[in-house]
């Protein structure tokens, strides 16, 4: 674990005099990122100041930061975020639940596997947002339609990944489990699930990425139609009132949540599949 990333880093100092490039790569990764971010924000601020862009079109970082803070303090952004995350959570829960059912069917029956393969190859390439118009007709202009498109975005990548994970579990490990007298649920819980974990995690990661994009896009559509109250709606409404800093503040919120979840997945992987040397190589 403590393999020195210092030594392996490209451009690391190998004992000569420090060039600018070398001293840059000697900085810790987080500091390098902070510096780049600071420079980018500074350029942005200078551009807005120097070019006299209309504040009806573009906002300065300062204005965005102010909107972001006040939006969170007065509960506007926080509320919108809550609405979005709630629909997302329900949609993902339903999607994951259905994926488990499909996976069980596909793992234990050949018909189930064939059906799953067919539906996945048909529905997985279809951006889930494309079925929103149908969802609106079926469920109306409400949260149910959102939940439906999110569940649809989630179910296929998870079902296909977990099924692949189960079907490719090392047969030797299964025999070891059976040799210990493990049967049924015990074998699934103690051998099959952990052995398929790399696939399960990567399935959930893909599903999250699909779901997050799908729900924001759906809310933007809803915004025009006038329902909901999530982040997409917040951005749409702010744009309607030409409150450009709020639009940016909404975008920043979406990006930050995406980054936080990504970091969460990375931590999970470091503690599990990477630590155990079993991360999937695809």
């Amino acid at each position: 674990m403590a393999v020195t990333s210092q030594e392996l880093r490209p451009g690391a100092d190998l004992g000569g005099t420090l060039t600018a490039r070398q001293s840059w790569s000697r900085l810790p990764a987080w500091l390098r990122r902070v510096i780049i971010l600071a420079v980018a924000v500074a350029v942005w601020e200078l551009y807005v100041k120097a070019a006299h862009v209309s504040h009806l079109v573009f906002a300065s970082p300062y204005a965005v930061a102010r909107s972001f803070v006040s939006g969170w303090l007065d509960g506007q952004i926080a509320g919108a975020t809550g609405v979005t995350l709630e629909a997302l959570a329900i949609g993902m829960a339903i999607g994951i639940g259905s994926a488990i059912v499909f996976t069980v069917l596909a793992t234990w029956t050949t018909v189930g596997q064939d059906a799953l393969m067919m539906f996945t190859s048909m529905l997985n390439p279809l951006p889930s947002i494309a079925i929103l118009p149908l969802a609106i007709i079926w469920f109306g202009l409400n949260e149910k339609a959102l939940v439906f498109v999110v569940a649809n975005a989630v179910v296929w990548p998870i079902a296909i990944n977990v099924t692949t994970g189960f079907r490719t579990v090392n047969t030797t490990l299964l025999m070891v489990g059976k040799n210990l007298g493990l049967r049924g649920w015990r074998l699934v819980r103690d051998v099959l699930l952990p052995a398929a974990l790399p696939y399960i995690i990567s399935g959930v990661k893909v599903a999250w990425a699909f779901a997050w994009r799908t729900i924001i896009a759906s809310e933007l559509v809803f915004g025009t139609a006038g329902g909901s109250g999530g982040l997409g709606y917040f951005i749409n409404k702010s744009q309607y009132f030409l409150n450009i800093p709020d639009v940016f503040a909404g975008l920043v919120t979406i990006a930050v949540i995406g980054i936080i979840v990504e970091v969460g997945f990375n931590m999970l992987e470091r503690r599990t599949v990477i630590r155990w040397g079993m991360q999937a190589t695809s």
Partner: protein, 283 residues
């Protein structure tokens, strides 16, 4: 020595003196395999692997299953382990003919990935003990003892991917022995190791099996390995295979033994191939 081949399963060699540490000869066989015929399905074709296999293993006896690649020796082992059901014939273990997988016949495989990658070395040995009903302190103590015994005490908190192939096989052996089974089934456990590691592990296994008083059914395609580890060698021939001979080798003490060369040659003749063979794919 050549005519020491008895037809089947009787280890009745009047001229062979039983060693002191040999199996208890008076008791009934621990395992008996009688006229077992095995086929298995491989991608919709029925593969006939074993035509007629008959042999016994006494308690604490070390029996080697030897034969050319693809002769079904691993298949016989899997049938004894309960992973495959024979088409006909009878397997009885410890008086029971109901053969399902169970820890009383602990298996050590050839593949390095037989350890649970998500468990540390210690947990890999503790977990089977817990599953088979030992209390936590008991399992910990037992596991620690056996990990020390295979010389992996310092590595006990490591994960399998941080171990070499030889270390992984040691853990697998420790895991199997810690269960205290009456019989150990080993499917070419050293087949994927380099020569030096293999020799060292063969020595370790001899020592450990002796101490654990465990019977051994060991699949190999190496005559030298069979002579080094075994009390008796069951020679398989043909595909689907039959038992060509059962040779008693317990009085052979190593390559320096005067009988070593002659018995080795007779085994080579039976196998129809001189010297070592290429490792097969584990089947």
């Amino acid at each position: 020595m050549k005519n020491q081949q008895s037809d089947v399963s009787s280890r009745s060699q009047p001229d062979v003196k039983a060693k002191e540490d040999g199996p208890v000869t008076s008791s009934a066989p621990l395992l008996s395999v009688e006229h077992v015929k095995i086929s298995y399905r491989l991608k919709n074709t029925l593969v006939q692997a074993v035509d007629d296999a008959t042999f016994t293993v006494m308690p604490e006896e070390k029996v080697m299953l030897i034969g050319p690649s693809g002769c079904g020796k691993s298949t016989i082992l899997k049938a004894v382990a309960g992973f495959i059901e024979p088409v006909s014939g009878r397997i009885s273990f410890a008086g029971s003919t109901n053969i399902t997988p169970g820890p009383d016949r602990a298996v050590v495989f050839q593949e390095f990935d037989q350890l649970f990658p998500w468990r540390t070395v210690l947990d890999n040995v503790v977990y089977p003990l817990r599953v088979t009903g030992r209390s936590k302190p008991e399992a910990m103590a037992q596991a620690t003892t056996f990990i020390e015994m295979v010389g992996l005490g310092p590595a006990r908190t490591r994960f399998p991917h941080q171990l070499s192939g030889g270390m992984k096989q040691r853990v697998a052996i420790a895991r199997a022995l810690a269960l205290g089974p009456p019989m150990l089934l080993m499917d070419e456990p050293f087949g994927s190791l380099d020569a030096i590691t293999r020799t060292r592990l063969q020595g370790d296994l001899n020592r450990l099996a002796e101490r654990a008083k465990v019977a051994l059914l060991f699949v190999t395609h190496s005559i030298d390995e069979a002579l080094l580890l075994g009390h008796r060698v069951v020679v398989l021939q043909g595909a689907p295979s039959t038992v060509a001979a059962v040779v008693d080798v317990r009085d052979i003490n190593g390559p320096d033994d005067p009988h070593y060369r002659s018995i080795r040659r007779s085994l080579e003749d039976l196998l129809g191939a001189p010297g070592e063979e290429e490792p097969d794919g584990g089947n």
